[in-house]
């Protein structure tokens, strides 16, 4: 299996040979920044396109098909349109916070994407508390929503922002607890170590029913955390017009939009990494022949395939289910998901202690 760290190491060595250590760091971080921004921009455009096509498929429509081949450039056209639109700000809005909020959202999204391993050795940083780090930075995003909803000085935005605050803080617990199930089994918080522990089978297959329950809870909590239907309380188009970003227009609205899709990608990527083995090919125990055939598929394809699968699942229920009401949403979390999760975690801890998993 190709290890991307040999590529990154060779780049590092060739840079070190000709530049001072400070310049090496500057150049390396610039490269990372450019690659990351390009990747995020492209993947968000791809996801928006896929979302439109998926929605069209569910609704028996065709979807975008005019701009570019099969409408592939439609998202780009929309992005350009948003870029050129006027910035409208209410006179009574808090100018500083109003302008700050979209950046907080985008920064939180970018911080989280840095820790995701795309393939063996292909990651920006592999910190030893990866799971903890991701759930920590992804909860910064709610600040952006709260500030954005407050600063616009619009009652609809304020309701949306407060709803979203209650929702994300609640579902953060469930998302983290369901990830902890795997952390207990793998015995490590580092994402690369969690992937390594799935070399002989993904946790969703190895971990019996408790892991499956954790996976379902993670999907629910993840959807709620990214503010997507059926948990799109903060936006709730039919109730609050556009929720927390009612007052935003042009590129600032686009930044909220971008952050939403990046968050979707992160949730899917984390789910894929932790439960479905990340870039690890599909291996079954010690079936050497089968495993070596599976190794022929490049890890990066495995990673994007699994992430795409989870994104597809999340899109599926967005376009099918009605929206919950805010109190039902909180009841679901505090009265059902959280107790189930705690019991589940205990059961898994017991299983891990006794070594009763494959």
């Amino acid at each position: 299996m190709y290890n991307f760290s040999s590529l990154t190491n060779s780049i590092h060595e060739s840079l070190s040979a000709s530049l001072s250590p400070v310049m090496v760091t500057v150049v390396e971080w610039s490269i990372i920044g450019i690659v990351l921004i390009t990747f995020v921009a492209l993947s968000v455009m791809g996801m928006v396109y896929i979302e439109r096509k998926v929605a069209a498929f569910f609704q028996q429509r065709i979807g975008p098909n005019r701009v570019g081949k099969w409408g592939l450039l439609q998202t780009l056209a929309d992005f350009l349109k948003l870029l050129m639109k006027e910035h409208i700000m209410a006179r009574s809005a808090d100018k500083f916070l109003f302008n700050l909020a979209p950046f907080i959202m985008v920064i939180a999204a970018f911080l989280a994407i840095g820790a995701i391993p795309f393939a063996l050795g292909l990651h920006v940083m592999d910190i030893n508390i990866g799971v903890f780090y991701i759930s920590a930075v992804s909860s910064i995003g709610v600040l952006g929503i709260l500030i954005g909803g407050w600063a616009g000085n619009n009652k609809y935005s304020l309701i949306g922002a407060l709803r979203s605050g209650a929702q994300i803080i609640s579902y953060e617990i469930s998302a983290l607890l369901s990830l902890l199930v795997i952390v207990v089994l793998a015995g490590d918080l580092q994402l690369s170590a969690i992937i390594e522990s799935q070399a002989d089978g993904w946790w969703i297959f190895k971990g019996h029913i408790p892991v499956f329950i954790a996976f379902v809870i993670f999907l629910i909590a993840g959807t709620a955390e990214t503010n997507r239907g059926p948990f799109d309380m903060a936006e709730a188009e039919s109730e609050l017009t556009a929720g927390f970003h009612t007052e935003y227009s042009g590129i600032k609205f686009a930044m909220f939009f971008l952050a939403e899709y990046v968050n979707l990608f992160i949730i899917a990527a984390v789910g894929a990494t932790v439960f479905l083995g990340g870039w690890m090919p599909f291996h079954i125990g010690n079936w050497e022949a089968f495993n070596s055939i599976m190794d022929y598929i490049p890890p990066i394809l495995w990673f994007f395939g699994k992430t795409g699968f989870i994104i597809g699942l999340i899109m599926w229920f967005k376009w099918t289910f009605p929206r919950l009401r805010i109190d039902q949403l909180l009841v679901l979390e505090w009265k059902y998901l959280l107790p189930i999760n705690l019991v589940n975690l205990l059961v898994v801890a017991f299983i891990a202690m006794m070594g009763w998993y494959f």
Partner: protein, 375 residues
Amino acid sequence: MIAEEAIKEGIKTQEYFINMGPQHPSTHGVLRLMLELDGEIIKKVIPHIGYVHRSIEKMCEKDTYRQIVHVTDRMDYLSNHMNNEAVCLLVENALEIGVSERVKVIRTIMSELTRLSSHQLWWGVMGMDLGALTSFLYGFRDREIINDIFEETCGARLTMNYNTPGGVMFDIHPNFQKRVKDFIAHFKTKLPEYDDLLSDNVIFRNRTEGIGILSKEDAISYGITGPTGRASGFSNDIRKHKPYSAYDRVDFKEILMETGDTYSRYKARMLEMWESMSIIEQLIDNIPEGEIQSSAVKAVIKLPKGEFFQSVETARGELGVYVVSDGTKSPYRIKFRSPGFSNLFVLDHIAKGYKIADLVAMMSTIDIVVPDIDR
């Protein structure tokens, strides 16, 4: 209540007003609701109407009776055919001329098709109001077939103006019967799909059951008609109580529910669609031969002096037309009793104490069409 508890602890809270509409995704047009809110809990709903007021009743005082028929399309545009029928029936009754059996049956089939298309649109929008975006497109997909049928026979899809005093504008298209039968066969397979998508969904049931309960007594005292009133157990179907056109010869049930909550209002309309299909099935093969336009009606219609009233059952409830005639070619005074107007004003009564999200669901099941409220 949150406010009371907060006051006890010394935290100051404030009730506030929010304007829902006139430009709002779920007010179904340009209705403005002023909501008095305590957090998200509704204290008061004040509907403000008048944004699409076109003074139709005043306009009618200048129009001839043939012209009035065309204006009624623009009231409840989803029950356009029934609105036309109300005026035509009134003119026919006032002049004491009968229409042929063929016309009666055609009108009934057309009315039921209109009811179906109205309920399909309502179903789609109901789903969208609750956040299930796909149902909107499903509703419109099936409505499209009915619109095509209308287009073929009437020449228009929405404001059809198919009825004229004394008959109908054109004879039915040769394809009409076949296409209607095809549609019924198609929709019988699709209606259970509607149930799968929304009615049996656990989130949908939680959002609608036990929400916005309207008792039978309140329904009567507020004058709530149509499926909204029948969901509370108030038997008010004009088709049953004062049959007109061909309703006296078809066999159908008046859907009566008991609880009167959002879900029963929803269910009443879903069941009504089955009844509409059964009415059409009973009539579609038995369209009698006859003239489509009565020769007794003159080009310029002058109603005798006096007061006339005619009501029909539209998709939203009872539409009453009241005409005071002074014997000239236009009415002295005309008054439309539109179902949407009476139904809207119950909102304050049923929405108190619920959340904004529930209000949207209630508004959807009351099935308001704003041009019907603001005539």
